[in-house]
């Protein structure tokens, strides 16, 4: 009878039982799965002893000691490191989408390794960590420089981090496309492989990971203060900016160190803290501890799955980056189901501080951008390099040049217009500065289908590409509608769902990248927009379509102005909130799909153009939409021209250049606001 007292609730808050249970299941499942292939070759004792010894006469034992055991150890080590880094990142930014991936650290590390491979192979042989850390610090340095004056406000940091990710990612891709044959190993590194054949990397890594983890834990108390909110923390004497910067620095070191050995294993740092929180970790200590453990278990499981998949198929390597992405996707979807409280979502803490630029005359701004657009068209049609050197094509001879220069220019411009419009729609609809077709996953859906086509080896003509991409975009849209219906199309849930779709696309892309250089460069070419394939018919078709949809958009200006006021206010003004959101979603998706087949899914014009419109002082919906469309068109027109001329007779994908050009403008705009 007295035993019953032990079941009485304790007074101090305790972690729910499901947390340790889930962690134990995850770890045991992963360990058993990882050992399974060794059944029949080594007994359990011999396998366990593979972690410290081996039998030179038995090659299975050598293999277990030098291949399997270090791989398991490094998976757990790296997983724990990334899980901890992710939890710290989410804590300092108060944002469940924050992770080393989202802050640009991984893109930075990859950029560092690429540059080192091309220009300093000696450095790479000496220490890959240095190159990766250099790149990671460059990325986070840019993020910090951009957001310094805004006091590292969470939204701005994430926003800057994303743009840096796109920017460095695009630079990286440019190298891969131009020098693909020379960078065969980077395709694997980018895909993330945990294959080991020595204890060396693990022995080098564990002390660093341990030291960094201890340093992070020393920040525990200051981080706890941050949980109280910025102003309370300030009043308690915590130096908020300094703590954040220090913590970010440690996150960079951890991520770059960890990842320089095995490549980009994205999303572990995002998924582990999300999982820990979902399972009930509430206090900061709990979050850090369980996120670390979850990270280790998750990565071991992901790596085991990758290893199994490698041996089941035709034997070719399935990179671990693929399976982490496949596991990361569902975890984010899980998060989508449970984060009903959108309190900590990005974009909810007002617009980023200082993001109200001076209003400017719409006529003047529109006029200037139109003039620039016209100038771009003239230069693009007329002034071009040939095999014998540069020459002008007179207006009278444009009909000869038209077939090579015209359709692609027209199509690029229209894709920019479509993305500018779609981006404005989505940012207005979600009230979220991170919203864009790219983030919504519609581009990702289209790209996923293209990746599958490349993987299957089927060859499709241009019409097939168009059809497949549209199908993919529609599929992604359908999925989003189903997911979002539960939340009445509320903005931030949509973004999370879109991110999950993007994660799946990423998985396929990694698989292709690891499978071989030439296939990969072909795919990357499309992903970043190969405007050179556009025919006249397609360009004119796109023109008609864009005009049609733009007409439809006139109908939605009113709902768009009302929606951000909040659901209640919008309903009381006589708006059917759910139906208006559905229509907006549909228009945004159609615009995105048509642009994606031309320019690929990764141009980020849809993110950048609406921002530039605001930077240029256009605040009301209609004006922002018009200026964003023009800016988008200008961006891609310039990008298409540059893609044709900068490495003539080679070509760069136009979308990639758009990401570069747009990224620079955007960063400039952001930093300017910091100063004001």
């Amino acid at each position: 009878m007295y035993a019953d007292t032990s079941t009485l609730p304790e007074m101090r808050p305790s972690i729910p039982a499901k947390l340790p249970v889930a962690a134990i299941i995850l770890w045991f499942g992963a360990l058993i799965a990882s050992s399974a292939p060794w059944i029949g070759q080594l007994d359990a004792g011999a396998l366990a002893s593979a972690f410290w010894t081996f039998d030179p006469e038995n090659y299975s034992s050598v293999l277990a000691h030098y291949s399997w055991a270090p791989r398991v150890s490094i998976a757990i080590l790296i997983g724990c490191g990334l899980g901890l880094a992710g939890a710290v990142t989410q804590q300092i930014l108060g944002n469940p989408l924050a992770s080393p991936t989202t802050l640009g650290v991984e893109a930075g590390g990859q950029f560092g390794i690429t540059v080192a491979t091309l220009f300093a192979p000696g450095l790479l042989a000496f220490s890959p960590d240095l190159a990766a850390i250099g790149g990671g610090l460059l990325a986070i340095g840019m993020v910090i420089a951009l957001t310094w004056r805004l006091g590292f406000s969470p939204v701005t940091v994430i926003l800057a981090g994303l743009v840096i990710t796109f920017f460095l990612g695009a630079l990286n891709m440019a190298f891969l496309l131009l020098k693909g044959e020379w960078l065969g190993n980077l395709f694997i590194w980018g895909a993330g492989s945990l294959v080991q054949n020595n204890w060396g990397p693990f022995m080098e890594l564990w002390p660093r990971v341990l030291i960094l983890a201890v340093l992070m834990l020393l920040l525990l108390r200051p981080l706890q203060l941050l949980q109280l909110g910025q102003s309370s923390a300030n009043s308690l004497g915590a130096r908020v900016g300094l703590i954040r910067a220090l913590a970010l620095f440690l996150v960079v070191l951890m991520t770059a160190t960890v990842v320089s050995r095995v490549g980009v294993v994205a999303f572990v740092g995002l998924a582990a803290p999300v999982l820990a929180r979902l399972l009930g970790a509430r206090t900061i200590g709990d979050k850090l501890l369980w996120s670390t453990l979850m990270g280790g278990g998750l990565l071991l499981l992901a790596d085991t799955l990758a290893h199994w998949a490698s041996t089941w198929g035709d034997g070719s390597l399935v990179p671990t980056g693929t399976t982490t992405a496949l596991i990361g996707g569902p975890v984010i979807l899980l998060a989508l189901q449970s984060f009903r409280n959108t309190h900590h979502m990005p974009g909810q803490e007002s617009g980023p501080a200082g993001f109200q630029p001076r209003r400017r005359s719409p006529v003047l701004v529109t006029g200037i951008i139109s003039a620039l657009l016209l100038a771009t068209v003239v230069v693009s049609m007329g002034w071009a390099p040939g095999l014998e050197g540069w020459n002008w094509t007179a207006l009278t001879q444009w009909d000869h040049a038209w077939v090579w220069r015209g359709p692609r220019l027209l199509a690029a411009m229209l894709a920019g217009v479509a993305l500018g419009l779609a981006g404005t729609l989505i940012q207005r609809m979600t009230g979220n500065p991170m919203g864009s077709p790219e983030m919504l996953g519609i581009s990702g859906g289209a790209a996923l289908v293209m990746v599958l086509i490349v993987l299957s080896g089927a060859e499709v003509g241009r019409a097939g590409q168009l059809g497949a991409a549209t199908l993919g975009a529609a599929g992604a849209l359908g999925l989003l509608i189903v997911l979002a219906r539960k939340h009445r199309f509320a903005g931030n849930q949509l973004l999370l769902g879109g991110l999950a779709l993007y994660v799946f696309m990423d998985a396929g892309l990694r698989l292709v990248m690891a499978s071989g250089g030439t296939v990969a460069s072909q795919l990357l070419n499309w992903m970043y927009g190969s405007t050179w394939l556009i025919s006249e018919g397609e360009a004119f078709g796109l023109l008609g379509f864009t005009v049609l949809v733009s007409g439809l958009l006139l109908l939605v200006v009113r709902p768009l102005s009302i929606l951000p006021l909040g659901d209640t206010a919008a309903s009381s003004l006589g708006l059917s909130v759910a139906r208006a959101r559905l229509l907006l979603l549909f228009l945004a998706a159609v615009l995105t799909a048509s642009a994606t087949v031309v320019i690929g899914p990764l141009s980020f014009v849809g993110l950048i153009a609406p921002h530039l419109a605001r930077v240029l002082g256009q605040q009301t919906v209609g004006r922002q939409m018009i200026v964003a469309a023009l800016v988008g068109g200008l961006l891609l027109a310039v990008a298409d021209y540059l893609s044709r001329i900068v490495v003539f007779p080679g070509q760069l994908p136009a979308g990639l250049l758009a990401a570069l050009v747009g990224g620079i403008y955007f960063l400039w705009g952001l930093s300017r606001h910091g100063r004001q």
Binding site: S67, G200, S310, L317, G386, R405, R462, T518, S521
Partner: protein, 310 residues
């Protein structure tokens, strides 16, 4: 006028008839339809390196090739003259540059399928894919060489090249058989870094060399359509009976890293000193690399192996 017209038609017909006496004119079926040539093409553009190689073997210098500089680094033989124009990368060539060269024949593969309409606007396009799902690379490369020989009026030369390759393969096979070197399988690999290799599969171009030399490929699985699989180094461990042929280039510092790795030094092939490193051979070429690999592999096997890459 009314009377002259048939006369001109007659003349034209006669002219065409004369042309058709030449070997070149004719119609050929290819992967994307048919191609009709009225006269021997003089200005040819090759959009991949297998086609470039075939043209050079036939003694025809193309006016433009894709990724010219890369060809000189990776393929090397047969040598490409400097004056040839570069028309861009192999995945995204510049259509404008191709058009500027005013070619009368374009040779490409089905990888360029999305651009086929635009290419046809410039010149008749011959589409043949040496590397594609279900194709045997050496057979397709031989077909490309023979067909180009017909189009260019150089059938004899094409036949001569193929006969020479066959003879070289026979000679090398005899050398290996006399030395008793054909009994155990060979794994053909390229090191990508110290942990990963490209391993050449039974559907690769290299397989033709192995078959002709009477050697067994250690790797039993199909690769991607280029004929290779990217695998972790541990994937070759189970094939304990096999020898390892490493195709150059290898990254600087690789031999040191491998020497430090007991996993590598305990590999049965390494313990038996059966690692053979051969010079670079382009694995995605036409017929020529088959011959080059046969000679180099035979030389290397006869010379004896070592316990590490160079």
């Amino acid at each position: 006028m009314y009377i002259k017209y048939p006369a001109r038609t007659c003349a034209a017909l006669l002219f065409l008839g004369l042309l058709s006496l030449q070997a070149a004119a004719g119609t050929w079926h290819h992967e994307n339809g048919t191609i009709t040539l009225d006269s021997t093409p003089k200005r040819i553009v090759a959009l991949n390196w297998a086609a470039t190689e075939a043209l050079l073997l036939l003694g025809v210098t193309p006016v433009g090739v894709a990724d010219r500089d890369g060809y000189s680094v990776w393929v090397k033989e047969p040598e490409l003259p400097d004056k040839v124009a570069n028309i861009g990368t192999r995945v995204a060539p510049s259509l404008e540059a191709i058009a500027e060269l005013e070619p009368d024949l374009i040779v490409t593969s089905s990888e360029m399928a999305p651009a086929s309409g635009l290419l046809e606007r410039i010149a008749p396009t011959y589409v043949i894919s040496v590397y594609k799902e279900g194709h045997r690379p050496f057979e397709k490369a031989s077909e490309m060489l023979t067909t180009l020989g017909e189009m260019l009026g150089r059938e004899d030369r094409a036949e001569g090249i193929l006969a020479d390759i066959e003879q070289t393969l026979d000679t090398q096979r005899q050398r290996l058989e006399e030395a008793g070197m054909t009994d155990r399988p060979v794994a053909l690999v390229n090191f990508l870094d110290d942990r990963h290799v490209r391993i050449y599969a039974p559907n690769s171009l290299y397989q033709s060399t192995l078959d002709a030399l009477g050697l067994e490929n250690a790797w039993p699985r199909q690769g991607n359509f280029w004929g290779f699989s990217v695998v972790g180094l541990e994937a070759i461990a189970p094939y304990q009976n096999s020898r390892i042929a490493v195709v150059s280039p290898t990254l600087p510092g690789l031999s040191d890293t491998l020497a430090d790795s007991p996993f590598w030094t305990y590999l049965p092939a390494v313990r038996r000193d059966e690692v053979y490193q051969i010079d670079a051979v382009w694995p995605f070429g036409g017929v020529f690399p088959v011959k080059r690999l046969a000679t180099m592999l035979t030389d290397s096997l006869l010379e004896g192996g070592s316990d590490n890459v160079r």
